[in-house]
């Protein structure tokens, strides 16, 4: 079995009196697709934010590849090897698709503003090198036709795809996808699922995903964690998770008998 790439150890997150997360522990193994599911407000995005550095856990520890990143600034995590997409589109609306994705290469590039202003001293060479890498991602995600379009003018499905491209451009070893399929039609969902599987299998990225579409989650995830009211309900293979009575009741609408399930 692959070792853990990401470990969350007793992570709690409180905003004043509101407990967003309570003592959540889990780990994501290298090269797996790991999904977090749960009802709205269960703390899924909060958990991902703790991993990407947007929030700092009130208690507990997050470590990535054995290194404690609990207190590391969000902007340093790209270089560590963590990339992410957002639930609500977070593209740079006025930049072209190409430029958006180039921003993903930021931490891999070296030319500062002086070299940039003079466009000398390797700045141009570096730009071309990274352009090549970015074009590969553009090909992979099939967005060649909108390469030069301003990101803000694209359709929703395409924007989601560009956002994924930008996260891939970071060259992360762990990619966090916050509802990559929200608001998509069936065809777009199928495309996205295929991209995620390709990212995992061909690009070798570990995927941590939040998604509401149970069909997709159960089909492509290696393991699933269920959150409810900020607590971990269950973690395991899709089959194991589906067998859990509370999950069955919450997601499949099954009537699990009259007696209340002990929480």
């Amino acid at each position: 079995m692959e070792p853990a790439i990401l470990e969350a150890d007793n992570v709690s997150l409180r905003f004043g009196g509101v407990k967003a997360l309570t003592e959540v522990s889990f780990h994501v193994r290298r090269a797996e697709i790991f999904s977090i599911i749960g009802p709205n407000g269960a703390g899924k995005t909060s958990m991902v934010n703790c991993v990407s550095g947007r929030y700092r856990p009130t208690e507990g520890r997050v470590s990535f590849e054995g290194r404690d990143i609990t207190r590391m600034g969000a902007n340093r995590r790209a270089a560590v090897g963590i990339g992410r997409t957002f639930q609500n589109l977070a593209l740079f609306g006025h930049m072209s698709v190409l430029q958006n994705i180039m921003v993903g290469r930021h931490h891999l590039m070296r030319a500062g503003f002086l070299r940039g202003m003079l466009h000398w001293g390797g700045a141009r060479k570096e730009e071309i090198e990274h352009r090549r890498a970015v074009e590969e991602i553009i090909d992979f995600l099939e967005i060649q036709h909108v390469r030069h379009a301003p990101a803000g003018t694209l359709s929703y499905g395409l924007r989601k795809r560009v956002e994924l491209a930008r996260a891939v451009a970071v060259s992360p070893r762990l990619i966090l996808l916050d509802e990559p399929m929200a608001g998509m039609n069936l065809e777009e969902k199928e495309d996205m699922a295929r991209f995620i599987i390709d990212l995992n299998q061909e690009w070798g990225m570990t995927v941590l995903m939040i998604e509401h579409d149970m069909g997709v989650v159960m089909d492509i995830s290696h393991r699933v964690m269920v959150l409810d009211f900020g607590r971990k309900l269950v973690e395991g293979t899709p089959a194991e998770v589906l067998a859990h009575p509370q999950v069955r009741r919450a997601y499949l609408g099954e009537d699990v008998g009259a007696e209340p399930v002990p929480a």
């Binding site: 990407s52 550095g53 947007r54 600034g73 969000a74 902007n75 340093r76 995590r77 790209a78 270089a79 990339g83 992410r84 957002f86 977070a90 593209l91 740079f92 609306g93 006025h94 930049m95 072209s96 430029q99 180039m102 921003v103 993903g104 290469r105 930021h106 931490h107 590039m109 030319a111 500062g112 503003f113 070299r115 940039g116 202003m117 003079l118 466009h119 700045a123 141009r124 570096e126 730009e127 071309i128 352009r131 090549r132 074009e135 030069h148 930008r166 970071v170």
Partner: protein, 354 residues
């Protein structure tokens, strides 16, 4: 991307990264510069003075545009940095006898450091709060100018020297124009380069979506402060050019009204557009001339007799500036640069624009 003519394909990434999208646009710009170089042969001193004004105002406006338009920060203390550059350049020349032509970039660098200090709050503040913080910079620097007699000559002001190069003195409009033209081209090319490289993209990313910029590995505090420094660099160079043009720098020029004029240039020219900064500056320099012309036409006419505007030309000018800003905000919030693009697109597609 700009509309490319049919058949104009890019075959290398390098060709796709150029500042000028097509060969013709490059030729047009070079031709424009050539025509400008010949301008002193045709135009008089007064008109050359206007062109010089457009040059250094354009540089300063570009600096402010990098801050406001590209990084999404705000500054209402730009004139103070402009003034600092003017004084610093004059001071460096007089005190250390550095040739004026070197004093101008040095003044830019010095002002960048001052901007860096005043930009530190920008790392944490946004929007209105930052506006107030930069207002403080404006007043602190203005006060400093009035008190630091060793640096500015105090209330009396400071005399400056004109540029001297290879034994030639550039002290007339016709000759000084070339100095300004040179710096304008260099500063604009540098800004265009910045915006097509890593750190320029980072600045725009900070403006468009700072949360996801951070996730992409962009240090928000660093880039917000850097943007302030770069904008001050431009203000400093522009100020120095201004100082060595007028040959006299005095404190009262660099007040908050002047700062707001820079903001107006940037808004009218087009936020987030390099060339727009120059268009905005040109607009703000030429508009009073236009208003003057109209006023002269009207002088003595029936409108003049009823409204009695004959002697209050400055009043008319301020009103025109205000009206221009309002009209631009309503009808062309993307500025002259955007309008220019649309005009170009119209002619390119004519008569099949749909």
């Amino acid at each position: 991307m700009a509309l490319a003519p049919a058949g104009d394909f890019r075959t290398s990434y390098r060709a796709d990264m150029t500042i000028f999208p097509t060969r013709n646009s490059l030729i047009a710009v070079l031709l424009g510069i050539a025509i400008l170089c010949a301008a002193p042969l045709v135009l008089g001193r007064y008109e050359m003075g206007l062109l010089i004004n457009i040059g250094f105002m354009g540089i300063a406006a570009l600096g402010l545009n990098i801050l406001v338009g590209f990084t999404g920060q705000i500054s209402i203390g730009h004139a103070a940095f402009f003034g600092f550059g003017a004084f610093l350049s004059a001071y460096l020349h007089e005190k250390f006898h550095i040739p004026v032509i070197l004093c101008i970039p040095l003044a830019g660098i010095g002002t960048a450091f001052v901007g860096l200090i005043f930009g530190l709050p920008a790392a944490r503040l946004k929007g209105l709060y930052l506006a107030i913080a930069t207002l403080a910079a404006q007043f602190i620097l203005e006060d400093f100018f009035a008190r630091a007699r060793w640096f500015t000559g105090g209330v009396a002001g400071r005399m400056t020297e004109s540029v001297e190069l290879f034994g030639i003195r550039f002290d007339r409009e016709e000759s000084y124009f070339y100095i300004v033209l040179f710096f304008t081209i260099v500063m604009f090319v540098m800004a265009a380069n910045l915006m097509r490289s890593r750190d320029g993209r980072a600045l725009i990313a900070v403006r468009d979506h700072y949360l996801s910029a951070e996730v992409m590995g962009i240090n928000l505090a660093y880039y917000r402060t850097l943007s302030f420094a770069i904008s001050s660099l431009y203000a400093g160079v522009a100020g120095a050019l201004y100082g060595h043009y007028l040959l006299f720098v005095s404190v009262e020029a660099f007040n908050i009204l002047f700062s707001i004029q820079f903001l107006a240039m940037v808004i009218i020219g087009g936020l987030g557009s390099v060339m727009g900064s120059l268009m905005g500056a040109a607009f703000m320099v030429l508009m009073p001339e236009g208003v003057q012309w109209v006023a002269d036409l009207l002088a003595g006419g029936w409108i003049d007799r009823t409204l009695k505007i004959g002697g209050s030309i400055s009043f008319l000018r301020e009103m025109a500036i205000g009206a221009a800003i309002i009209l631009f905000l309503v009808f062309e919030p993307d500025g002259l640069a955007h309008r220019w693009k649309q005009i170009k697109a119209y002619w390119k597609l004519y008569p099949f624009s749909h």
